[in-house]
Symmetry: D2
Subunit: 344 residues, 4 copies
């Protein structure tokens, strides 16, 4: 290429926006041409995120002042509902990797049931491609709008989709016990996210009824070609980044392990550990990696599958860059493969 | 009583030993008459645990120098295997609350299978009472040796035993996804317990094959009057204290909730939250409380039960004091009810 | 006594309010008769602080609904400025231990300079006694209103006042480099207190110009009988509780150590470590203890003095209870001496 | 260049070794040709550090099996004392960036006093260049052996050297109150580094007598052309990475700020904040940046200077790579400038 692609980041004052800046700041084919943050418009990115103050970045602007046609691509880190309003009018020539939940559910009725209001941009939803790269790679290459997978769904779907596609596990019961770092809740202020309310303790939230449940169901049902309804419990871990899902399924552990190993052998960002080994979130911190382990239960015919990702990278901004790379014709790993996990 | 009971703490240089000192230091009917720590014998408790330096405590001594008959009771915080050797010869007139795993498994074959060697004190094991106070209260009152429940079993059994006894849930599948603070691993040095290996991350360990699995099976099988084999996965949380078990069962959530509420209504240390509310470990930190919540799954007829304890208190030393109180004829809550949770 | 003193806690929805409840819940001579929290009026304490849900406590009420004359004493955990308005009209027969900053500065001009507005309750300020118990014990016994020392001043003044009174150190330079846990910032929501903004990092704030500076100056000037202006830098530590002040002074370390050891020999809540040993905040967590260490600098004639407290206990609610005990005629240690540090 | 420089990492099983691998894994001009770890020889790097398992790295070998002449350069992350024995015989044609303390002190008598034994490789010490790149850049370019600055010295010297060189501050008193993350203590197992002994608390260690004191003195004395002896207190912060030094000096704050701003204007890895702003360690996490802030004290003529680095990067392995870049003729920032801070 003669020139770098010009990218806009919507919602740059949030954690996923800042993470997109980190990941793109040294991208070989992309330059950050615009940053929006309505409440901080006119300020520098360094004023909002001091860790980025040394970079030469555009001043934060209001979304109203954006000319979308100036950009080759967009990473959207806006909140739910706002996103569909903003993206409704973006020209389809601009490639959009959306990190919000707005375009993930294909069925408008399901969307309305779980989000409490009718969808405001149904036409765009119709053209949206679900953005779990490892499963929708070809569709993503030609898409205008990619609905990147949620963090919990990413961690659950990576191991489960191949197992259901190959009919190696039962469609029920599937119990997904997930644990997330606190960045998953975003940067908005709330008592429940204060340091003293989160540190040195552990709890579940949104048990059984978290909005990522139907998103997981949707993709597993496609994979199984049958209706799948999972049992899903998210928990909050006193850590900044990381997500671990412990998944209980009916299927032979060694068979599952072999299938996953083969399925992901050529994937740059998915590793399957040797049989019986377990991943740790700290070993993917800051990277786009997903690591999967499989263990046999004491009950024969039952397996425990564990996956670990960094919720801000593979679970959000890294997946966004991975998809944008594909949409813009770059190598899928461009700019991402140099970020090794930061441990400790 | 005219005089306080004289208590010996075995293994005072470990976390459970220190916690026993904290809990007993202001006990109305007990005085700490002896402390052992073989490798630190001759030193003060304050040299080993500076937070206790201001207390007037006995000098640490070697177990070989102990005259057990001088004591009314013992809290034993020794490691596995050592415990059975030491306790084999303690006179049965001395009441022992043992925090180790040595006397929990009633079946010697099961013990040998999971611990890798034949039990060394089978006679004493025969007289041991399983120490989950809420279920074995009457037996504990007359016992000489109480095998206090493990931390994971305590968190799992408190909600599950009543549900199985009342046949409100199926005996299979029962999935117990547990998360523990780091004190659960003790004070022995090991790379995996270093701050930098534990903080800001999350992982599972001993998946499906942790030694607390058969202990849980044993007690659930008694409750169900049938063989129960659970699926059990422990995880390590970057926090000092606390244990949360997320338990997936087949049974009606509202019925389960009602039964647990009634079963524990008169228990001083067990609280059942209103239907649909979830406990947090930080809200029991430092106290002998167990808190239980019940939620309905999206699948009708399935429930998610969550329990929270402080693994060092209700999961270890607090349960030990609770049992010792009963064995010595004191009120079960003596010295324990004044420790409200320390939050934040 | 025939009956317990009836105590009101103002500002029960904050961390210091909840901590006062924890400390008073098992107090031998005090019962909690009232709790206020304007924004949560009508709710139970357990709704605001689930860790206290198992206690039998009064419903939260609005301050407007309080009849102060019903109470023997008050612990006030209200914010700055609000406090002076509320306490202005409390009858002087009601003993008040105030945890706010409103009545600590004796000079109205200094107050106005640092707090940006004239004091609204100058008469009450005139009768207020500074509440660092170890130095104002006799005055506190007869006081109606005690302005409990700030957390930073408590940690700095305990070692410095005796050294200046005895003229063992120079009045200048005195450098106080302090580090606080996050509860010191209260429960109000703010971006800077979010878990992800505080964890796994360290920073200074309010450098040289924190409002606790003039409070420290005031008391050191009294002790030295000369104007003292310290250099004071507060820092935020990713921990819930605890405060450590590292203090650099001109004076002989061994002489200073001996003087502090003697001065605090009979104090229940102040420990001076053997020469050269250093305190840790985790060893006072949850207790009313202050621990002090003294080390010689490489420059002869210079010393480093380090003190550790729990900012929520000795630095706030514990000191409040200690003072209220004195004001109500109880033993100073009543209800406090049973709270040994919770470690780990 | 036609081919990448071939680099050996000594001590790859430690945190600085692993960090060197992370930083070099995507270096444009360097490839990792060898890794040593005596106790883990024969194992893969992924077995020792799972976060690196996906990289194609040499198998760990014993130092005895290394042929140093095969390498263009070495990053040495060996422990003190071992280092001098190993490096004594490395040919001077191999460029060595040493992260240990062994070659930092120029005066053998000072070394012997602080390390308790005579230096074992005095010839090599004679040729060693002190490795704080920003001050010894030209010497480093021609050096065979660079003694990279200690983490504490790096954080203290960066702001202090220019101020003393320009005689803007007094040579005494200089008080350096430093706070470090736990990786600074290495990966060796010890009770004091266990999660439960470090988390949720704060303490000082090695007060006034830490071995980095004389190293700081040495460099400040050179800068001031006069004997400088600082007062230096290190503290341990419950965080993985990061170091913050709060430094109290005699000098005009605005003058100091201006001088530092100008001095570091062209440095790629040193940022001076606007006057009165303070750095946070979390904003340099994982990067080679040092950030400096200056504030005026309440005493005129006195200043507070605060610096923040990541102790594992600018304070160790990043500085090592920076120096190796210079020694091997590459751009100083090669491979380092793409690592933006990881926040949160």
């Amino acid at each position: 290429m003669t020139s770098a692609a010009n990218i806009l980041i919507l919602g740059a004052s949030g954690y996923t926006g800042a993470e997109a800046v980190r990941l793109l700041s040294a991208h070989p084919h992309i330059r950050i041409g615009g940053l929006t943050a309505d409440r901080r418009a006119g300020e520098s990115m360094g004023a909002v995120f001091p860790q980025l103050a040394h970079l030469d970045l555009p001043v934060l602007q209001s979304i109203d002042d954006v000319k979308f046609e100036d950009y080759d691509g967009v990473i959207c880190g806006l909140p739910h509902a706002t996103t569909q309003q903003v993206l409704a009018n973006v020209p389809s020539t601009v490639k959009v990797a959306d990190l919000s939940a707005d375009f993930r559910l294909r069925d408008p009725a399901t969307y309305e049931k779980w989000y409490g209001h009718p969808h405001q941009a149904l036409e765009r939803q119709g053209e949206a491609v679900y953005g779990l790269t490892e499963f929708y790679r070809d569709d993503i290459k030609g898409a205008s709008l990619v609905a990147c997978a949620g963090c919990y769904p990413t961690s659950a779907l990576l191991p489960l989709v191949p197992l259901l596609e190959q009919k190696l596990i039962d469609t029920d019961p599937i119990v997904i016990d997930s644990k997330s770092g606190v960045t998953g809740a975003g940067r908005g202020v709330a008592e429940g996210k204060l340091y003293c309310e989160v540190s040195d303790g552990f709890h579940a939230y949104g048990v059984a009824w978290h909005r990522h449940g139907p998103e997981i169901d949707q993709e597993l049902s496609v994979a199984a070609d049958a209706d799948v309804v999972v049992t899903f419990t998210p928990h909050l871990v006193p850590m900044n980044r990381g997500m671990l899902s412990t998944i209980y399924v009916r299927g032979e552990a060694d068979v599952c392990h072999k299938a996953l190993t083969e399925r992901f052998a050529d994937e740059a960002f998915v590793q399957v550990l040797p049989f019986g080994q377990m991943p740790q979130t700290r070993h993917v911190r800051g990277s786009n990696l997903a690591v999967i382990g499989v263990v046999a239960d004491r009950h024969s015919g039952r397996s425990i599958v564990i996956s670990a990702i960094d919720n801000l990278v593979k679970g959000a901004s890294g997946q966004g860059v991975q998809n944008l790379n594909l949409m813009l014709g770059f190598d899928e790993t461009a700019g991402l493969d140099r970020f090794q996990p930061v441990f400790p």
